[in-house]
């Protein structure tokens, strides 16, 4: 089979024309994945060269942007898999519980004026930090859904997983994100009482975490800050598919009649 490149000189121009409009989107996601501009640029470049090389494998009429994102995701995983990162264990029930507490306690404040941000003074930095603190798999679905605007089905295609998994990760990811933000809001005094720091440490870190907790006992509780485990946090939940929906993930779509 002739490769796209050898096949048609012209095709290169087609590719550039088709692919270049997505540079910003890919870079933005790459930046959130790698958290630094140099790695993000490298990742995007590698993605584009691979996409160009395999351009003839792209099925006409399917979503080209999603195809590019899929290549980028695979490239990213391959590059990072080499580092053999340890998955984290996340106690999601704990996250959910404290989230509920804050929501219930602060509902009146939170809905007082939805148009002019409840967290008006909250810095973009805080939102970035909260987003970056998400375990990789959850961050990916949140980025793809809420920033890139992909549909659940497209995300499932990009990430090679069932739509039910996308939905459960989106549910959890958004919940963790909001919880972290509510925690910041509490810390800065915009809202009252509530959330404890998110449990996002691996077992390995538990001892370290405990010591830290002891050391800071009596002080104000810190916000979630898994920053020191940045690299490990990337793959926190790689195998964590045991979402507590009672129905199996595949049936989720059917059960809730997703349009």
């Amino acid at each position: 089979m002739k490769s796209a490149v050898a096949n048609e000189h012209e095709q290169g121009w087609d590719f550039e024309k088709a692919a270049m409009p997505y540079v910003d989107s890919l870079y933005n996601t790459a930046y959130r994945m790698t958290r630094n501009s140099e790695d993000a640029e490298d990742l995007v470049q590698e993605t584009y060269l691979k996409a160009y090389k395999y351009y003839d494998k792209f099925e006409e009429g399917t979503n080209f942007k999603a195809w590019l994102f899929k290549i980028m995701k695979n490239t990213f995983i391959n590059n990072y898999r080499k580092k053999k990162l340890t998955p984290h264990k996340i106690d999601f029930s704990e996250i959910e519980e404290s989230y509920e507490r804050v929501i219930q306690k602060n509902a009146p404040d939170l809905i007082k004026d939805p148009e002019t941000d409840i967290f008006q003074d909250m810095m973009d930095e805080d939102v970035k930090r909260a987003l970056d603190s998400l375990p990789h798999d959850y961050k990916m679905v949140v980025l793809l859904a809420d920033i890139e605007g992909f549909s659940y089905k497209e995300i499932a295609e990009i990430l090679d997983c069932p739509v039910g998994t996308v939905m459960s990760r989106l549910y959890r990811g958004r919940k963790m994100l909001e919880r972290t933000l509510l925690e910041y809001a509490r810390k800065y005094g915009y809202i009252r009482g509530g959330a404890e720091p998110a449990k996002m440490r691996s077992r390995k870190d538990e001892t370290k975490g405990r010591k830290k907790k002891e050391a800071s006992e009596g002080e104000e509780t810190e916000a979630a800050e898994p920053e020191e485990n940045e690299e490990e946090a990337l793959f926190t939940a790689a195998e964590d598919e045991d979402f507590e929906f009672e129905v199996p993930e595949e049936e989720e779509e059917e059960r809730f009649d997703i349009g």
Binding site: S3, V5, A6, H9, G12, F15, E16, M20, V23, D24, L26, Y27, N28, Y31, S37, E41, V44, Q45, Y48, L49, Y52, K53, I103, A107, L110, I111, P114, E115, D117, I118, F119, D124, V127, K128, L131, A145, D146, I147, Y152, M167, L170, Y171, R174, L177, E178, L181, F245, F256, D257, I258, G259
Partner: protein, 102 residues
């Protein structure tokens, strides 16, 4: 309390019996509702529930507020690719093409 209230309502054989959406279910579909991804039947069931359950209705408004806030902030977070990256990409693609077509 809302659950009891709801069960009571169901016991009377209301049309909501078909839906039987409990507060627990509402929590689980909130995001999908806000995304506009729920099918018509579930959406109607949810709306019926919300109209009868102040707790869930309040929760929905909180979640909506959070969602609005986050979407607005996300839009601001998006970073454009540096111009040098675009140049770099174009160059490397063209270099690659030349190499392959030799």
């Amino acid at each position: 309390m809302p659950v009891l209230f709801f069960l009571e309502f169901l016991a009377e054989g209301s049309p909501l019996q078909r839906a039987a959406m409990l507060c627990r279910d509402v929590k689980r579909v909130v995001y999908f509702f806000l995304d506009g991804s729920l099918g018509e039947t579930t959406r109607q069931d949810l709306k019926s529930h919300l109209s009868l359950c102040p707790d869930c209705e309040r929760r929905m408004r909180v979640q909506q507020a959070l969602r609005n806030f986050l979407m607005a902030r996300f839009a601001r977070l998006s970073a454009a690719a540096p111009p040098r990256l675009k140049t770099r990409l174009t160059r490397s693609i063209r270099a690659f093409r030349t190499e392959w077509s030799r």
